[in-house]
Amino acid sequence: MDSSRRQILKFFGISTLAMSTKPLLDAFAADPAAEGAESKETFLAGPEALKARQWAMVIDTREFHSLEDVEPLIEACHSIHNVPNLPIRRHEIKWIWETEYKHAFPMKGARFMAEELEHRPFLVLCNHCENPSCCRACPTQATFKRESDGIVLMDFHRCIGCRFCMAACPYGARSFNFRDPRPFIAETNKKFPTRAKGVVEKCNFCAERLAVGRLPACVEASEGKVTFGDLYDPDSPVRERIKTNYTIRRKQSLGTEPSIYYIV
């Protein structure tokens, strides 16, 4: 009895160990050298890929006056990324949307603000934070900060749908697929996947476009009102704008270091 118990304990111990080393073993298995002569395969980033240490965005909100000014940007993003349009607000999915100053910057408003500013549409999206609390919370690293360019991404294959990241994001940037999104995509962009029910999604800074040398869709659609570039390149357009304008970020005091800057 006693020894069989010990056996069981051993079994559990070993299987826990095995589970925790599985990714390590996978890494070895994926190592081309381990597969023998058949596989001398390599991977490249692609010649036109845009590179940065940390992508950042500057939104010149002074240039946006009405919904008509922001809608093309939202539409550009949502249509190419197959973001569904769900009928029930509870299930809503959005990557980039507009809101009023008091919601974009709660607790940061002045009283008796200019009416124009109070009702100006502010674009909000994932901030691709430099110190993202969402990635810290994820139990599977399904959402992660990409080392190569600082984009906070989702690995939809891995996400278990626990929604811890949604609770951890202080900007409400994340949406959950409460149901199969496919029936609610007006026109599917066949070059980009949709999502399955049960996973979390959000803005990906158009990682798929940067990889082929194109700027994010919203930036392209903004006709210069939104600037995009490398935060750590002193000559980049975003640095230029940050240097020559007073900019603010959402909830700076939380230490997540958002990469979206607003000129107000």
Binding site: D2, F12, T16, M19, S20, K22, P23, I88, R89, R90, H91, E92, I93, T99, K102, H103, A104, P106, M107, V124, S133, C135, R136, A137, C138, P139, T140, Q141, A142, R158, C159, I160, G161, C162, R163, F164, M166, A167, A168, C169, P170, Y171, G172, S175, F176, N177, F178, R179, D180, A196, K197, G198, V199, V200, K251, L254, G255, T256
Partner: protein, 385 residues
């Protein structure tokens, strides 16, 4: 000993069948949820955790509450608890089983739950919660089972069990601490962002867990030949009394900090729960009821005259269990999500399927609990203590 769980009276079978039938209905709705997605619940983009996670949080507390009998018995050799310790351990097992189920049914992609151990992420509190909960289940199974089996065979439990017993005590504290850290470490959620969250969780756990245990003891005494003992019940009642006092005290500490500092990010959640915010206040009556129940519980339990009357004691335990349940199983989670990070109010009302599934999980817990208690009580009756 397992055979004891399947040999029972008609009443026992009837009860188990009753539970199974509710579980069956719940399972049917769960299949619907699997098919449709979590959209069949009342959760939303803004309130992304709801009833399931709230039940989970509450039940971690019930599980941790078991330590209130384990600790005095094993650490201080408090003999009176000899009869109820096993009941505490088995209650913890049933509660942890419910916790794990609530986590799994809350997942959007439950088939992928093993991604958690597959891609260990020590940064994530949920990863640690996964470890401590499973560990606690494992510890209680080892300890409870072995000690009970030894008792049946009229021998002292083996020496190797001892370290597990000692380990299970801090482990019980850890499960609820880690569960509190799930919430307390999130920037921008002012309701949870407080160092007193873990102590608050623990104090409410040490009230609700033992309160349930007292009720179970009273039921066992009524329905079987085993008497857990009046003195054990009375001591447990004192534990509940002081734990619920602490819980209310911690709550008042929180209220002071939040409302004296007047920081809106922290204050607005309390306002939403207790007075309503921007015209939304579905939880207001519940929250006041919870507070009233807890205060009533204090009055009934601190006062020795009422405490010593077992009828009143039973009422007090129900009152406290209900009060802490509303506090944690309803207000604690949705309160943290309203208002949302953009300071908009989206209310959360659980849907009917969601409630049925939750009820079914509770029934699974009671099924496990009944089987385990059946075993424990049969052994106790056998050895004639």
């Amino acid at each position: 000993m397992l055979e004891l769980a399947i040999r029972g009276s008609k009443k026992y079978y009837g009860w188990m069948l009753f539970l199974l039938s509710i579980i069956g209905v719940g399972f049917f709705f769960y299949l619907k949820q699997l098919d449709f997605g979590l959209g069949i619940t009342g959760m939303s983009r803004d309130v992304s955790w709801g009833f399931y996670i709230a039940q989970f949080t509450f039940l971690v507390g019930v599980a941790a509450g078991g330590v209130m009998v384990v600790l005095p018995y094993y650490l201080h050799d408090y003999k009176v608890y000899g009869r109820v310790t096993i009941l505490g351990e088995f209650l913890a097992i049933a509660a942890v089983v419910m916790c794990l189920l609530f986590i799994v049914i809350d997942l959007g992609q439950p088939m992928r739950v093993f991604n958690v151990p597959l891609y260990p992420s020590p940064n994530s509190v949920l990863f640690w919660d996964f470890i401590v909960l499973n560990g606690y289940l494992f510890l209680n199974l080892i300890v409870g089972w072995n000690v009970l089996e030894a008792e049946r065979n009229n021998v002292h439990y083996q020496a190797w069990v001892k370290p597990f017993i000692y380990l299970s005590i801090p482990w019980a504290i850890s499960i609820h601490t880690v569960t509190a850290y799930l919430y307390a470490g999130l920037p921008g959620r002012g309701f949870w962002l407080t160092a007193i969250l873990a102590p608050r969780f623990l104090s409410s756990a040490f009230a609700s867990g033992p309160a349930l245990l007292i009720l179970l003891c009273l039921i066992i005494r009524k329905t079987t030949n085993f008497d857990p003992g009046r003195e054990a019940i009375q001591t447990l009642a004192k534990t509940v009394a002081y734990a619920i006092c602490l819980n209310v005290f911690f709550f008042l500490c929180e209220i002071f900090t939040v409302f004296y500092s007047q920081i809106p990010e922290h204050m607005d959640h309390f306002k939403y729960l207790f007075t309503g915010l921007h015209g939304h206040g579905a939880y207001v009556p519940w929250m006041w009821a919870s507070l009233a129940l807890m205060l009533l519980g204090i009055i009934l339990l601190v006062n020795p005259i009422t405490r010593k009357n077992e009828g009143v004691l039973a009422v007090a335990c129900v009152v406290i269990f209900a009060g802490t349940w509303i506090d944690k199983g309803m207000g604690m989670i949705s309160g943290g999500f309203v208002p949302n990070p953009l300071h908009e109010v989206t209310e959360y009302i659980p849907s009917v399927p969601e409630l049925i599934i939750s009820l079914a999980v509770w029934c699974v817990g009671f099924l496990v609990l009944s089987a385990l208690y059946k075993i424990a009580v049969s052994v106790k009756e056998e050895v004639g203590t």
